[in-house]
Structure formats: C-alpha cells, structure tokens
Amino acid sequence: MSYVEAVLNGLMVGGLYGLFGLGLALAFGIMRIVNVAHGEFVVLAAYFGMALFTMTPLPLPAVIVCVAAAAFVLGWLLQATVLNRVLGPNPIPAMVITIGLAIVVRNVLVKIFGADIHTINIGPLQEMGLQFFGMAIGVVPLTIFAIALVLFVGMHMLLHHTMIGRAFRAAADDFEILETLGFNRRRVYAAAMGVAVMLSAVAGLLLAMRSSFTPFSGVERLLIAFEVVIIGGLGSLRGCFFAGLFLGVVQVVGLKVVPNSRPLFGHLAFFVVLLLRQAGLSPLLAWRRK
C-alpha cells in the first residue's frame, strides 16, 4: 500500500470517524451530556448487525435499517428514562451513569459473544476493487464513505429545514425559550439522543464491515469521537466531517509508518491541535476561513 493509497483509505475511514464525532457532539451540544457509553453503543451496533446478518436472511441494507431503528429506540429510551433525570449544570452524574452503562454493555457483550475478534463478512463484494492510476480502492470503503457523506448532508437538512431540527438547535441555545414556544424539552432531548445514537450505530456497523472489532473496541471509538469533537469544534457539522477525515488520514498513515501503533497517532494529532490552541496559534488555524 503506497502512501497515496493510505491517505485515500484514511479519508474513507475518516468519514465514519466524523459520524462518531457527530453523534457525540449532538448529544453534548443539545443536552450538555457526554455519553461515555457512546463507544460501546458503536460496538453494540456492530454485534447486533452481525447477529442479524448471519442469523436472519435479511439483506444488508435491511440490516442497516434495522440497526438504525433499534439504535434510535435505545437512545430515546436512555434519555427519556434515565438521563432526563440528571439534567443540569453538573456534568458528573450523567457521565458516571453512562460510564456505568458502558461497563455493563461491554461485559454483557463479552458474556454473549466472547472476547474474540470479529468482523462482518459481507461476501464477494468485500474483495471487489476499482483500479485507477495503478491504485486499488475497494468498492466497500468507497460505498461506506458515500453513505457517510449522505448522512452528513441528511443531518444538515434535518437541522436546518425541519421542525425537529430547528427545535434541536433552539434547545442547544436556550431551552427555556423553547419551552415557552410549546415544545416539551424532555421529548426534544429524547429525540436528539435517539438521532445521536442512531448516527453512531450506523457508523459503527459500517466500520465493522471493513475492520475488526471486539467488545473492548468501545473505548477506542469513544476517544476518536471525542477527538473529532474537540478538533472540529462543537456545533459544526462541517468541522466534525473534516476533523474525522483528518484523524482518519493521520491514523491510517500512522499505522503504515509504525504498525501496531493502534490509535496512538490520532491521540498525538489531537494533542498537537490542543497545543496549537494553547499557544494562541488558533488564529493561524482559522486563517483559512477568512
């Protein structure tokens, strides 16, 4: 694999990283809740999708839709039954509750599926590739990237052109005004968490078709999502997308330079961005946008 190919692969995996970040950012931006179980939900979606795909005759697109629907319900229920009870300025209760949930999900997955590495094998399509300029790009990564792009555009439409999307944005700005307009804040929150978990679940399922996962992959996914949010800036769809691409490229190229480095290079890139911000160099980073 040449470096150009590594960069292309990084971009394609980065689209999914962007989605991980978007799910986390949505919940944090609107409810001020950091869902520490985010990564575990991503992995849960992969296992659920794998179980559906291997045990039922459903075709792949139907599996994706089922996982998305189940994830929406899970997110909705989590917010409506648990997290709506701990709203407020103190972030600690929600984080402790969701880290508890993360531990439960992780170990239940170990109990059911074992600690082994799994992948979702989607058949002959997996091997197919497109050749151009002497490089091979898999059909599956390309399709996955396209789906990620569609989801980003879809989220943009949802947030800007629908009633519930406007309610999400209003809730992020000022929930009291939102309530005077006749919205039920808790319902809006539940819907937002549903959408947030759904996005990450679809991304998790898609990622599982191109790389392996274990019940312990959740932490890595959560940290990636978090890095995307910090690098891209909260409340910016475009920021999430590009931060995802950036992290994807850094990670895949990093893995090529130092095999076995796992997400180390993604972490390091994150610190570099943090340091640049600290050193007051953010004007440099923002310079392009002027």
Binding site: V36, P91, V96, G100, I103, L223, H267, F271
Partner: protein, 323 residues
C-alpha cells in the same frame, strides 16, 4: 483559623486522628491476610486521592490509571537500572507522577467539565500505547523486577508496611488539608467556580494542587502495588479497570466525603470476595451499581448517613460563629 467570623470547624480533629491510629494499629497487629489488606489499603489510598480531586474541586478524571502505570514503571526503571532499593525508589514514582501531572495540566488547563474528563483519558490511553511501543521498557511484554533488589524473606511484610504507611499518610494528609483554608477554598471551587473566583480564591491554583496531590498518591500506590507483583506490563498497569474500581468506590461510598472512600473500599472488596466465582458478572454488577447509585443517591452511602444524622467522622464542615 479563628478570629475572622465563620471559620470555626464543627468538631475537633483529635478523635478522628486517634481513631485512624487505632484502626491502623489494629490492621498492623491483627492476624489479617496481609496480601489482601495491602491491596485494600492501596486501592483505598488511590480512591481517597481521586476523591480529593473529584469531590472537592469538581474535576472528574477518567485517566488516573496513567499515574498508577507511571508510578510502577518509574519504580521498576529506578530499581533495575539505578540499583536503588525499592522503598526510596517510590519517591521517584511520586515525583514522576507530579512532573507528568504538570505536563498534563499544561495541556488540559483550558478544558473543563466533560472535556477534562475525556481529555485526560486520551492522555492515559496515549501513555499506555507509548509504553507498549517503547522497546527500552520491554514494550508490550513489560518488565520483571530485578530479584536481587528485594529480600524474599521480609518482602511480603515490607510491601504491606509501605501500603499501610501510604494509606495512613493519605487519610491524615487529606483530612488536615481540608481543615485548613485550602479545604474551604476547594469546596467553594467545586460548588461554583465563577463565584469562588469572584471572592478572590485562586481557582486554578487550588485545582492544580488537588490534581498533583491525587497524581502523587496514585503514582505511589501504583508503584507499591506493582512492586508486590514483581512484574509490570502496559496492559495491566494502564488498565482503565483501575479507574473503574476507584470510581465505583468513591461514588458508592460517597463522593466529596472523607468517609466515603473507606466505606466504598470495604464494600468493593466485600462484594469481590462474594462474587469470586462470578467473573464478568461482577464487572456488570459493578457498572450497574455505580449508575444506579448516581441515579437514586448521588451523594453515596455516607452522603445519605450525613444528610440524616449530620454526623461527620472526619469533621471538615465550618459552622457560623455566633457574634
């Protein structure tokens, strides 16, 4: 302490300190399983250190396993390559934790709330991955302690005494710290950062002091623990399970109370012995319990006791003085 109005503390320190001394003597003299007692004392010290940070400054850290790992690695390197005996080498563990804590603080100082919690987790994870890559410290295989540096006949007792000493110093030290002005300042920072700053409390300075103290305690405790195991590897020493244990103990016992971590440690080890055969079920139970306690009794067991009775075993609360 006295003279300026509302700073009288509602209870003397002597009974609590005497109680600590009695308990420590009982642990030292009673025919307990010293291996288990050592582990309990160390995990208690880590929990109390973390509680100082979370319960008294409101900084929720998900990355204190970083200091446990660092403390143990520094101990091993100092003992194996420097030829220093293990006990004094622990000082290096504490110093290294403080030094790395300072670097972490420089990176994280503008991150608050959830950003801090997960930012430090990323740092801890990076350290785990770095140590797993670093050939000089054995990469992912880890290091074995040089066997000639210890005396096998007294070794089990030695680590027990170190653990008892650390737990004692931690409890007495944190208690004394909270009874000083610093304690009042820390609680003010936790309850309202902006408000505390507006009455002249150096918010960041106080948070930094608590952070570095907790780092030093966890680093030393990690060093003693891995000293007793004679072997350290990155997957174990930087394991997030350390953090989960600490979190469970502090949340269930009562965050922001000095009594909480003691109760939490007793409950944790009681349950662990009870669920010895259960394996994963214990972890599931641990996660679910922390979540449920946060939901129904966010101040933990000791918080409930305190709300009902107003009793503090370790009095740190200030009472308004009558004019």
């Amino acid at each position: 302490m006295t003279g300026t109005g509302i700073k009288q503390i509602g209870g003397a320190a002597f009974p609590a300190n005497a109680l600590i001394a009695v308990v420590a003597a009982a642990i030292a003299l009673a025919p307990v399983d010293r291996r288990l007692a050592m582990e309990m004392l160390l995990i208690f010290a880590m929990a109390q250190g973390w509680n100082l940070l979370c319960g008294y400054t409101g900084l929720l850290s998900f990355g204190h396993q970083a200091f446990i790992g660092l403390g143990s690695y520094v101990l091993y390197v100092v003992v194996n390559t420097g030829g220093v005996p293990p006990s004094p080498a622990l000082i290096a563990s504490a110093f290294a934790s403080v030094a790395v804590g300072l670097v972490m603080w420089a990176l994280l100082r503008h991150l608050r709330g959830a950003y801090f919690s997960i930012g430090i987790w990323v740092l801890a994870d990076s350290l785990r991955l770095l140590f797993a890559q670093w050939e000089w410290v054995g990469s992912s295989r880890g290091i074995v302690l040089n066997p000639s540096s210890i005396n096998p006949s007294t070794f089990a007792n030695d680590v027990f005494w170190l653990a008892l000493g650390l737990a004692l110093v931690t409890q007495l030290g944190v208690f004394a710290l909270l009874r000083r002005r610093t304690g009042l300042a820390l609680a003010a920072v936790r309850d309202n950062e902006a408000g505390a700053a507006s009455v002249g409390i150096a918010v960041e300075h106080n948070q930094l002091v608590a952070f570095l103290t907790s780092a030093a305690i966890c680093g030393t405790a990690g060093g003693i623990y891995y000293l007793s195991v004679l072997y350290v590897d990155p997957a174990g020493a930087f394991d997030i399970d350390w953090q989960i244990r600490i979190l469970f103990i502090v949340i269930v016992g009562g965050v922001g109370t000095l009594e909480g971590p003691i109760i939490g440690t007793l409950i944790y080890f009681g349950l662990r012995e009870l669920f010895r055969e259960a394996g994963d079920i214990f972890l599931i139970f641990q996660g679910a319990t922390a979540a449920i306690v946060m939901l129904v009794a966010p101040s933990g067991i000791w918080g409930l006791v305190q709300a009902r009775t107003g009793f503090q075993l370790f009095p740190t609360r200030r009472l308004a003085q009558r004019p």
